[in-house]
Subunit: 130 residues, 2 copies
Amino acid sequence: MTIKQVSEKYHITADTLRYYERVGMIPPVNRSPSGIRDYDEEDLKWVELAICMRKAGLPVEAMIEYVRLCHLGDRTIPDRLHLLETQREALLEQRRQIDKTLERLNYKVSCYEDAVRTGHLNWKPGCCKR
Amino acid sequence: MTIKQVSEKYHITADTLRYYERVGMIPPVNRSPSGIRDYDEEDLKWVELAICMRKAGLPVEAMIEYVRLCHLGDRTIPDRLHLLETQREALLEQRRQIDKTLERLNYKVSCYEDAVRTGHLNWKPGCCKR
DNA sequence: GCTTGACTTGGAGTACACTCTACCATTTAT
DNA sequence: ATAAATGGTAGAGTGTACTCCAAGTCAAGC
């Protein structure tokens, strides 16, 4: 699969795919004899993983480290487990924060919905009013 | 309340507080006659809101626009509602992505937990293996 | 055989959100 | 009264994650 096809499949630019490989966020991709990238199934799995992690906001650095540890073989399994658990904690924390903000946003939206009907904002008493 | 007290209260640097004010992410803060910031209740509410939004990953730009609209008075209420709904959608989408990634991470962690016990990785058949 | 479009690398540039520095004024503690 | 701490502004610098550009190579269609 060419870089163009991969970029279309995952809605990501070819530049970003090359960047991910260059920094080590995915292992080196298969090449044709003339040096042109030819992504195989394995490469695509890595690309998919990288995109998934990045979309959730996990740092590029973490993926680089994970790929590095995978390359070092089975003796790095405990380290990889630790890395994955750390990243999971970070995501859980991030989700807690998002939920807090969503609660706030929901409250504000409901106040503003009232306001567009009545013509003026009317924060319920004792609320934060912002 | 001085900038130092506010920074300690919210675990944020004084630099960041000045930055938020400078770019308009919070309205201008109360000042003493000599020009030193003296945050009142209202200012603190804005700071709190700004921190909440940023922690969830919402863009600074969105807060700036919200503050700008608030300053323009009640006729911007529909615009503010629209802005808040847009940001809420963004957060819901972000949470969906986090949940997807958490599922993946949970699966991987369980495989790695098995691996540290058995000494080798054993991906369940048909899974993504990355 | 030649044009056209896609691919390569290396390196520079950009966007975002801070973060730090220099330098001067003010406030607080001794 | 003075030293130390805190505050102020303007502007430069940083880290992260891309994103773009130049200059050259490669592959497919006419």
